[in-house]
Amino acid sequence: MASVTGSPSCYCPSLILLLVAIFNNCTSEAVWKKDNIIDIPMPGKPLFNPFTSSFLKLSDTRATEGATEASGELTWRQAIYRRHVELNDGSEDELSPKKLLSLQSEPKGRRSRDQLRQLWKMAIEQTILLVRMERENAKLKESEETSAVRRIKLEYNELGACDAGVTLMWDSLLARGASRQISKVDRHMLRQAVIQGVPRNSRGSVWYFLAEQATLRSPPPDIRKFPNYNTPYHTLLAGLTKHQHAILIDLGRTFPQHSYFASALGPGQLAMYNILKAYSLLDPDVGYCQGLSFVAGVLLLHMDEAEAFVLLRHLMFRRGLRKQYLPDMSALQVQENISRIFLSVQQLYQLSRLVRDHEPELHSKLEALDVSPALYAAPWMLTLFTSQFPLGFVVRVFDLIFLESLDVVFAVSLALLTAHKDGLMMCESCEEAAEYLKHKMPGIDSDRGIYEKVHSLDISRELADYAVEYSVLSEEVPRMTALMDANARLEADKMRASEELDSAIETINNYHNNQSRMETQLRTMEQQLTALSKYMSSHQKDLPADIKKIIQLYNRKQSFSSKIFSSKFNDPNDEDQRKNPKTGMSTPNLFSKVTKEEVIEAIRNNDLMELDKKSQFSMKKSQSVHSGLIANTTKTYPLKVLEEKTEFEERLLELKKNTNLELIAQERLFEQKLKRDFDENLKRLDAKLSQKLDEMDTNQNRRAMSLNIAPGERADSGFVTPLSPDREKDDNVSVTSHPLSDCDVEIKFDGQSTKLKQIRPAARQVEEAP
């Protein structure tokens, strides 16, 4: 530049001006667009760009300086310019430095028109040259920038660099792939190659290559449901997605520390947005799920957008990554509540099982701390370790995923947990363990040990087993719920039944107590009876007619009441049976029937002995029944117990029908035991009862007494006035029975009925009689 403007002439200032102007314009970015330069020479097009306007402006200034020369020559400079640009479009290297130098060495002094023209020509030529140079510079700069971006993208610490030999091997492999002769490469060889390492700079191509290899090995995915599967990336980009907001808010939250993605809506974020948007259009079921952005980010760091998109699609569809982002629609049909079951839950289950089988101690430790895989492993699965682990580690995992399958994620998880088992076993609380898993574990230099362990692990079979297990389990869930409901119902039934049993047992106990109370009462009554009998026998002949009436009345009532109970002793004459009751007499129906006719007849015939026996017996019965009645308000115990027993048995049957499996067996055993106990109890009680009654019988029968027309007031009172009995009163009466006072009492009792008044005089008579 300095050499050009060096010539000291009157035109120099203008030339310098021109060149400076041109230079300034050229350096401004807009001019560097290719289009600007090409547009200028087009005929008929107004020359509006700054480049040409500076020309026009300059020519105007010149015109004022030298009118004669400049007049009418406004166009020749343009002509030179045009001619030159047109010429140069064809032959770029016409302007050689030699020519420029020769021009420069021309003599000074007043210049001719030709010379001026020459100078102008030179100036224009040089300007154009400058423009070209700047353009080249820009190109260089651009390529420098891309390589800088590339450097930025690949800024991570490799886990051990791979040596030159490995790089060469990869280069040859990739060259083979690039030559469009996609053929299967021996898997074992590939594996060895990956284990030895992947050069960082060609990692993107290696992944692409491995993906192609995997595509050759596996059948194509079912894409009938995805009409956009084969739509070109750039076409997809034109579409609009409903996940736009979700994607946008995650752009700033994916690799916020990485310089490529850090700047808001910078190239990195834009590329990520594009790729995620395109994917959400391709796969509407998944759309966008948090975690995907990390996977896309790692891919973007190693290749351009379009390639990254293809690999993302490959991972999702061909490697089964897709299912873990899917909201499970099958669950929707089963239960509304858990409509949004994540299939990644299956992955978490698989991992949990894997840990349990391989590291049982660690598994139980984590369980005890309440640290579930959902807490720590969800980000591992959903971002393929990207969100928490250093990139150097992550890309190695990606190498393996592209080489093998997604099972690698489980293997790595297991290897990580195993490697950090000691640290985790030291944790004392959920917080500590979670902190360790989320921050310490990724922070610790992820050594090659883990990587090697991953290689040695072969867990694909186990994983498949667990997947089946999980699907079976999830199918079982509704059935299990139903079973558990039934179980709970049965438990409740069982509880209720046992409660009923308890109350039944209690009732039996009460009954038992009543028995003993009745026995005591009976004894008292017997004493009374003896006394009365003695009295009666001594006063037999003095019996007034009224008293006989009372006896009649009493006997009628008794016969009526005795009908209530079926009696074994239908035949009052069958003394043997009464005296020697059989063992089979265990039923509670022990009440004999002594008809009033018998009593009356007996009285009439003065068959004292016979009647005494009978009436005594009948009285005894009524007494025992009524003392029971009076002493305890639950007069129907025996019946009730029986009723309950049958009821209980029915329930048992019902339960037996309802229950199943072990529970049933257990329950049945339990019920049987209860039933047995119950029956035994009942039997024992019955036996006791009958025994007592027998004793009573024999007692009664043994006694040969005179006719007792004044039976125990209590017994009678029960029959005539079932409402009146009052325990206290009863007790009092039974205690204060005296042979003499009894008469009075007895009459009083009868008096409680409507006949009291009629009898009362008789009672007085009785009193007066002795």
Partner: protein, 204 residues
């Protein structure tokens, strides 16, 4: 490593749509600083902060959840143990406010019946972009009988107050007022063994 002792442990849960600022609120409360360089919450995470209320040291275990709907399977399992739930929406985004009803339904389905709730309208520093008026927030809170507050994690508005108020409400409930009762004692007993265990671990 000596651990802080505490009298009570409260488990809180932060829920709300994706991007409303749950993690930012939690960061502001636990570390008292606002940062934009954090990643989206994938699944579930938690932070611990111990506060002192009425002379009691209360450890708050605050669970932060992923807002995206399909993470519900993972996050709802944490509803059950929560004693207090903060529902967060973004005052500059109407959709997040409309979804509050949905989140409330989620709570009804999965959380304890007596869980303490609170609605937070976050990002109240961005007044110029406001899309949900304060009145609307207050109205929905009144309708459901829940506390309400507008907050800003960025400008540190109401964050501490919100957590303290929620913790106090839980304290009222747990201790049955100011007097510690059986419930309180039970918690204290529960905690003791773990501390003892820890001390033992320290000695060895």
């Amino acid at each position: 490593m000596a651990k802080k002792t505490y009298d009570l442990l409260f488990k809180l849960l932060l829920i709300g749509d994706s991007g409303v600022g749950k993690t930012c609120i939690l960061f502001r409360f636990s570390d008292n600083h606002f940062t934009t360089t954090f990643i989206s919450t994938i699944g579930i995470d938690f932070k611990i902060k111990t506060v002192e209320l009425r002379g009691k040291k209360i450890k708050l275990q605050i669970w932060d959840t992923a807002g995206q709907e399909r993470f519900h399977t993972i996050t709802t399992s944490y509803y059950r143990g929560a004693m207090g739930i903060m529902l967060v929406y973004d005052i500059t985004n109407e959709k997040t406010f409309d979804d509050i009803v949905k989140w409330l339904r989620n709570i009804d389905e999965h959380a304890n019946e007596d869980v303490e709730k609170m609605i937070l309208g976050n990002k109240c520093d961005m007044e110029e972009k406001r899309a949900v008026s304060r009145e609307r927030g207050e109205a929905i809170a009144r309708e459901h009988g829940i506390r309400f507050m507008e907050t800003s994690a960025k400008a540190n508005v109401n964050i501490e107050r919100a957590f303290n108020e929620l913790a106090e409400a839980i304290l009222d409930k747990t201790a049955g007022g100011r007097e510690p009762d059986a419930d309180h004692a039970r918690i204290a007993v529960e905690r003791r063994p773990s501390r003892a265990q820890h001390q033992r671990a320290c000695c060895t």
